[in-house]
């Protein structure tokens, strides 16, 4: 599977078929073992302050949660259901109105039960972040495994 095919699969299982990610229009930019990147276009309905056009925290929270989850999925050699246990977001500076936001997440440690992730959201320069996130995921939660949760095995990333 080449990189374009792999990214198309990530786009399908992490955005197109997850209703909220699709509603946000999340675009998968990159995925490799332990790393995931997505882009959120600026849209009027994501605005929290209509006077300034600055994004609400919500779309960033949802994107960072999704991006951290995708980074976890790249680490799973065996498909397994998992769920966010906790998520912390630090809002470093307001997003610039009209500009797309990029999220980059890293899964830096995975154990039998828990995966640890960190992520940043920015406008293209990771050293100038809009938000920083730390997310913890519980592995082996109940329910059927989804395609998104099988992608590590599927792509042999």
């Amino acid at each position: 599977m080449d990189k374009a095919e792999r990214l198309a699969l990530f786009q399908m299982w992490f955005s197109d078929t997850i209703p909220h990610n699709k509603a946000l229009g999340l675009k998968v930019i990159d995925a490799r073992r332990g790393f995931a990147s997505m882009q959120l276009e600026w849209r009027e309905e994501f605005v929290g302050n209509p006077e300034t056009g600055v994004l609400a925290g919500g779309p960033l929270t949802a994107m960072l949660d999704g991006c951290c989850g995708m980074a976890v999925a790249t680490m799973l050699k065996e498909p397994m259901p998992f769920a966010t246990l906790d998520l912390r977001i630090d809002y470093a500076k307001p997003a610039t109105p009209g500009k797309a936001v990029i999220a980059e997440a890293e899964c830096y440690r995975i154990t039998h039960s828990v995966a640890f992730t960190r992520a940043f959201a920015h406008h293209g320069d990771a050293k100038d972040p809009i938000a920083a996130a730390a997310g913890t995921f519980m592995l082996g939660t109940k329910g059927q495994v989804t395609q998104a949760q099988s992608i590590g095995a599927e792509t042999k990333i």
Binding site: N49, T84, R88, D90
Partner: protein, 153 residues
């Protein structure tokens, strides 16, 4: 004065607290609005298909729960405290306790500590049973207009 604070002044007269959400595009899009029918200010995220994060369970996307807890904290600060500015979020930590089913989510918020510039807020979200929260959050908000404003303001 911001449109949201103008709306707040109107809502204080009319009592129709749900109209606060109309001034926030994201709240309208997400169908998140405050309500005070029971005398307590609560924030409701009305269920719609775009909230789903896991179609297999099915379950509501964790990001939307974080988003509505943040909005619940903001509505609480606007309505229950004497804030003169729109509270500015500094950070939020969300704990996910149960998967959220495809029905409405309701949240309450309370101020844990009110400082001169910084407020610490706790928020809790549930579905049918308030004693079984689906997620909780702690958040910090700046509530002073500007750090470079003279201290007398």
């Amino acid at each position: 004065m911001s449109a949201l604070l103008e709306r707040l002044a109107e809502v204080r007269k009319s009592g129709d607290v749900g109209r606060l959400a109309e001034a926030i595009p994201y709240a309208r899009w997400m169908k998140i609005a405050p309500e005070n029918g029971t005398g307590e200010l609560l924030t409701r995220m009305r269920y719609h298909g775009d909230l789903i994060g896991n179609t297999f369970l099915p379950a509501i996307h964790g990001g939307t729960l974080g988003a509505m807890l943040e909005m619940a904290a903001i509505f609480h600060l606007l309505w229950e405290t004497e804030t003169e500015t729109v509270p500015k979020i500094v950070n939020i930590t969300v704990d996910y306790l149960r998967s959220a089913r495809p029905v409405d989510v309701i949240a309450s918020a309370k101020v844990t500590k009110q400082g001169r510039r910084m407020v610490n807020v706790f928020a809790e979200a549930w579905q049918d049973d308030r004693s079984k929260p689906v997620a909780t959050a702690n958040a910090h908000f700046l509530v002073k207009s500007s750090d470079d404003a003279p201290p007398s303001l």
